[in-house]
Symmetry: C2
Subunit: 294 residues, 2 copies
């Protein structure tokens, strides 16, 4: 495995994820230099203020030339603009990755703009929160969480190795998937749940919400996510989201029939199957990761 | 307002809720005597062990005669059996309430067994967790949460006042609703979310779950609830659950069309509306309650 040392990084989009990646890199190696690219002076100032970035820029072409790594950390819908702005200025050995939540369209876009076998390797660190902005950044945001790295058939092996090693230094568990397998998986474990949480939040009336409790608070937490970011996710992962949604609707209709028929035994069996799956696959996973992160 | 003093209580079903109610009463007034009724010696022993109950019984008829209050805290499906067992032995001034999650059927059942204008006043403390058993009981489980009290047209006013005052001494915010209004509300804020969480948990494959993160963990938390208890809830609130589910499916189909059409503006508007509703009605409510509970 050939891994390149990362000494200078450009982060395009200094929000929660970009800022946290910067703080995590600096915690790991205080000599790393981070250039931040943003749209608004106030965000860049905040990123300088919390010590996430060393220099602030409006145009990635100003800083990507000396970077070992460029990380796209804006909403996915802005990637095209930034890739085009950076493309001509990249250093000969600069790698490019991202933290976006969809991968098929992003991989296609990067191939089109940066060329086949180019410097791009897609990443999706499965960390974050419904909070927004560099002020919520934390050096430990990624610790113990999974990062899905999504090489394509023409990605250079040393580029994949370097990107995977990079996320590991930030404390992540790295999993490799094709862009298509990634998109199918996150449609089921993230994008569809987000859509359903948002729908659930709009169903009750104000009188109903007045008596809601911690269950409703948790099941709707995702609905507090950033609408612009999530619009881009749903648009760029449309096919996989629709497939997940249709499967979900079919299963919902089956369960509806069981409730309508008052089939207590079948309802209990369904609930027990779901509980068992969560208790064995999710609750135990949480415990495992907590231990491995300590 | 005429409120009766509660000095002796029978709790039928000493699990998380029954045990927590007992601990909360004793924390408020150490002289309160609690009789626990259970099916299994091991649960009763555990309840004695954690100091939730003072005496243990298999038959409610043994203890309800001297109780000021009887609290049904088993799954709803067992209420009929316990009400029948207790009915002949109740003291002249004994009140009966419950902690069940559905109210229309429970109110009818109590009226049938205990008589119209009888000692029953339904309650639904909106507290709990996916944990099960008296060992997880906490004296502060109810503090700051809502309790829905559901009198019917023939409930005696002093009985309602006493039950409402009781939950207030345990730190709860009391809200009064008719049984039907209660059932509609909880179908939307609790029962449907439970069903959707259980369905979401079964959609991804094992490979998908391997990379799931905190969002999926939270949105599926309800799926770890007790299958037997939730079977009874869905069976006894069938009409309201089906109505909520059908409304949800209609809204889901509308959103599906927006995603299918790639209508970014409409998708963002939907997401922003849901986020605003959660941020103003749920997040702010959590902050308010935390302050009032301090």
């Amino acid at each position: 495995m050939s891994v390149k040392k990362i000494k200078h990084v450009t982060i395009v989009g200094v929000g929660l994820l970009g800022g946290s990646a910067a703080l995590a890199m600096k915690a790991h190696d205080p000599s790393v230099q981070v250039a931040g690219v943003g749209r608004r002076q106030v965000s860049l100032d905040a990123a300088l203020d919390v010590g996430a970035i060393d220099t602030a820029h409006f145009d990635p072409a100003e800083c990507v030339g000396k970077s070992d790594l460029v990380i796209l950390a804006t909403p996915v819908g802005a990637f095209e603009r930034h890739l085009k702005a950076a493309a001509g200025a990249l250093g000969r050995n600069t790698l490019v990755t991202d933290v976006g939540s969809t991968k098929v369209k992003v991989a296609r876009l990067a191939r089109r703009i940066l060329g086949p076998g180019g410097p791009f390797v897609g990443s999706h660190p499965m960390a974050g929160s419904e909070q927004k902005g560099v002020r919520f950044s934390r050096a430990d945001l990624f610790v113990g969480a999974s990062c899905i790295v999504t090489p394509t058939s023409d990605t250079r092996p040393e580029a994949v190795d370097t990107i995977e090693a990079f996320w590991k230094t930030l404390g992540m568990r790295v999993v490799r998937r094709s862009p298509a397998a990634h998109d199918r998986a996150v449609a089921r474990i993230s994008h569809l749940p987000h859509v359903l949480a948002s729908l659930m939040m709009l169903l009750p009336g104000n009188n109903d919400l007045e008596v809601s409790a911690s269950g409703f608070r948790d099941v709707t937490r995702l609905a507090s996510g950033d609408p612009e970011m999530w619009r881009d996710i749903l648009l760029t992962n449309r096919g996989a989201v629709l497939a997940a949604l249709d499967k979900f609707s079919t299963e919902t209709a089956k369960l509806r029939d069981l409730i309508d028929q008052g089939d207590g035994a079948a309802i209990e069996k369904f609930l027990a199957r779901s509980k068992k799956r969560r208790d064995t696959k999710i609750v135990s996973q949480i415990v495992d990761r907590r231990i491995s992160a300590e």
